[in-house]
């Protein structure tokens, strides 16, 4: 088990964004995290990776408690995320962007360059390595997000809607990238709205709604779960 969340609670003023969310992530798996808008998916990522402090609960990573550790410490321990709203370092080149991540593991520029180059090859951005990050389109920016995170040589990667807003034809490419990274030994938690992609990729799915975990299980089971259908489609009045 690589990650264990034990009753994570996060409040924003009076709103309970996450209410006692618990789950476990098996090492080497791809887990999908779904839920309607505002369900708390990104907040959950923010809490796991130390961007936001949690109000209650505990988080364990590789058996070590990491509750409220800073995100740079977690990156060194081997957990990294991508952002739904991409955050490239605009004035730097694509390669330099990835190198920032690589410096998390190595000191010299040469080895950082090697790691970064590998990461760019994995996501298919190698051709664009000398381009300024600000010149990338949205699909490429999402790939760069993955490459930056992958350059830190993570054990666990949190991917936040890497397929949102890209061309349908690119979704397949992105799915393959996610699978390739997983096959290289990285556990992945995936937030996604594109059901087709998430169904085919994830072994297990966790469903959030209004900050609560309402379902968890194999993809085929979850879609038949009545709570999930209720959350997505509402219920008919009797």
């Amino acid at each position: 088990m690589i990650l264990r969340a034990d009753a994570i609670t996060k409040r924003f003023g009076g709103i309970c964004a996450l209410d006692k969310v618990s789950f476990e992530i098996e090492e080497g798996s791809i887990v999908g995290l779904i839920g309607p808008n505002g369900a708390g998916k990104t907040t959950l990522f923010n809490c796991i990776n130390g961007t936001l402090p949690i109000d209650d609960g505990r988080i364990y990573f590789c058996g070590e408690e990491i509750t409220n550790k800073r995100s740079y410490e977690l990156a060194r321990l081997g957990m990294c995320r991508s952002y739904q709203i991409v955050k490239p370092f605009r004035s730097m080149t694509v390669l330099q962007n990835a190198m920032v991540g690589a410096f998390c593991r190595v000191k010299s520029r040469k080895s950082a360059q090697e790691i970064a180059t590998e990461a760019l090859e994995t996501v298919g951005l190698y051709e664009k390595r000398d381009e300024k990050a600000s010149n990338l389109n949205i699909g490429e920016s999402k790939k760069l997000e993955i490459a930056k995170a992958f350059s830190t040589k993570p054990k666990l990667l949190l991917l936040d809607e890497v397929m949102a807003g890209i061309l349908p034809s690119e979704v397949k490419v992105m799915s393959k990238i996610v699978r390739d990274i997983n096959e290289s030994g990285v556990t992945i938690i995936l937030i996604e709205h594109i059901m087709e992609a998430i169904m085919s990729l994830s072994e297990r799915i966790i469903v959030l709604n209004f900050g609560e975990k309402i379902a968890e299980g194999a993809a085929s089971e979850v879609v038949r779960n009545s709570e999930v259908i209720k959350a997505y489609l509402g219920v008919e009045e009797e």
Partner: protein, 292 residues
């Protein structure tokens, strides 16, 4: 003097240029360097060479305190806090007459000699200033290729995203701020020994900070050679303007300001990046010509 200004501009650029947090109060470090050197030499006869190091060490300590205290401040608030810090030190230098001689300043005794870092001619000073400039620019070149440089740029662009990639933003910023402060302090020491007289309104004034900041901004923020280009264009231009309109005092400042505004309006990144872009475009055009 141009070498010295370039060195100062590059020192400032080392932190503010690469990470985009503008420290307007850098004259404070210049002042610390200048005063440490001048006071130790004038009052205790300690060689300025040692004074430079003492000033550097003092600046490093102050930079750690100020840098640490201002880490959480962003944007304008950081800029304002650095101004306040410089003002506090300037006021201190004026009121603490017992230590600094107040606004009368410190007169450095003229006894030429290598140990005293005092010479009758200008050449040795020029060599020192030149060496200083080279060292600081070399440090910037090295920074651009180092882990610290990458981290600094990343933190400057997006702190959260940088931390996510394992960058300890506080440590990165503090380290760079400290190095930048020490370099600035060295420049202050050299300036004191060259001018032989220092007073608060000269070495610690905001005008002083702004002057070397402008050089860096005009030349190109966050580029190793930007301050060099900026200084070697702007300092002579200032002198020419001052010489051309001696009758109306302040006119050269006005014209200089206008030139700066034009440069910054036309090329927000500064002169050096603009030049690079121009050269790149020319090359690309030449390549295309060959192809067709």
């Amino acid at each position: 003097m141009t070498f010295l200004w370039t060195g100062l501009a590059a020192s400032w650029n080392f932190y503010s240029g690469y990470c985009g947090r503008l420290s307007i109060g850098h004259a404070a470090f210049l002042g610390i360097g200048a005063y440490a050197t001048a006071l130790l030499y004038a009052n205790y006869g300690i060689s300025p060479w040692i004074g430079i190091l003492v000033g550097g060490a003092l600046s490093a300590i102050v930079a750690l305190i100020i840098g640490g205290a201002t880490l959480r401040l962003q944007g304008t608030f950081f800029v304002l806090s650095t101004i306040a810090f410089a003002k506090i030190l300037e006021t201190f230098a004026i009121t603490a007459k017992g230590i600094t001689g107040g606004s009368l300043g410190v007169l450095i005794p003229y006894t030429p000699g290598f140990l005293n870092m005092t010479w009758s001619g200008k050449l040795p000073y020029a060599i020192i200033a030149w060496a200083y400039m080279i060292i600081v620019i070399a440090a910037c070149v090295k920074l651009e290729k180092s882990k610290l440089g990458y981290f600094l740029k990343a933190v400057g662009e997006n702190k959260e995203a940088a931390e996510n990639l394992g960058v300890n933003s506080s440590r990165t910023m503090l380290k760079a701020f400290l190095i930048s402060a020490v370099f600035t302090s060295f420049g202050g020491s050299i300036m004191a020994m060259y001018v032989m007289y220092i007073e608060p309104s000269f070495v610690m004034s905001m005008g002083n900070s702004v002057q070397f900041i402008l050089l860096a901004i005009a030349g190109g923020l966050g580029t190793a050679f930007g301050p060099l280009v900026g200084s070697f264009i702007l300092v002579p231009v200032t002198n020419i303007l001052r010489g051309s309109f001696p009758s109306i005092s302040g006119l050269h400042g006005l014209l200089l300001g206008l030139i700066l505004i034009v440069v910054l309006l036309y090329r927000t990144n500064g002169i050096l990046p603009a030049l690079r872009e121009f050269v790149d475009n020319q090359r690309r055009r030449a390549k295309n010509d060959i192809k067709s």
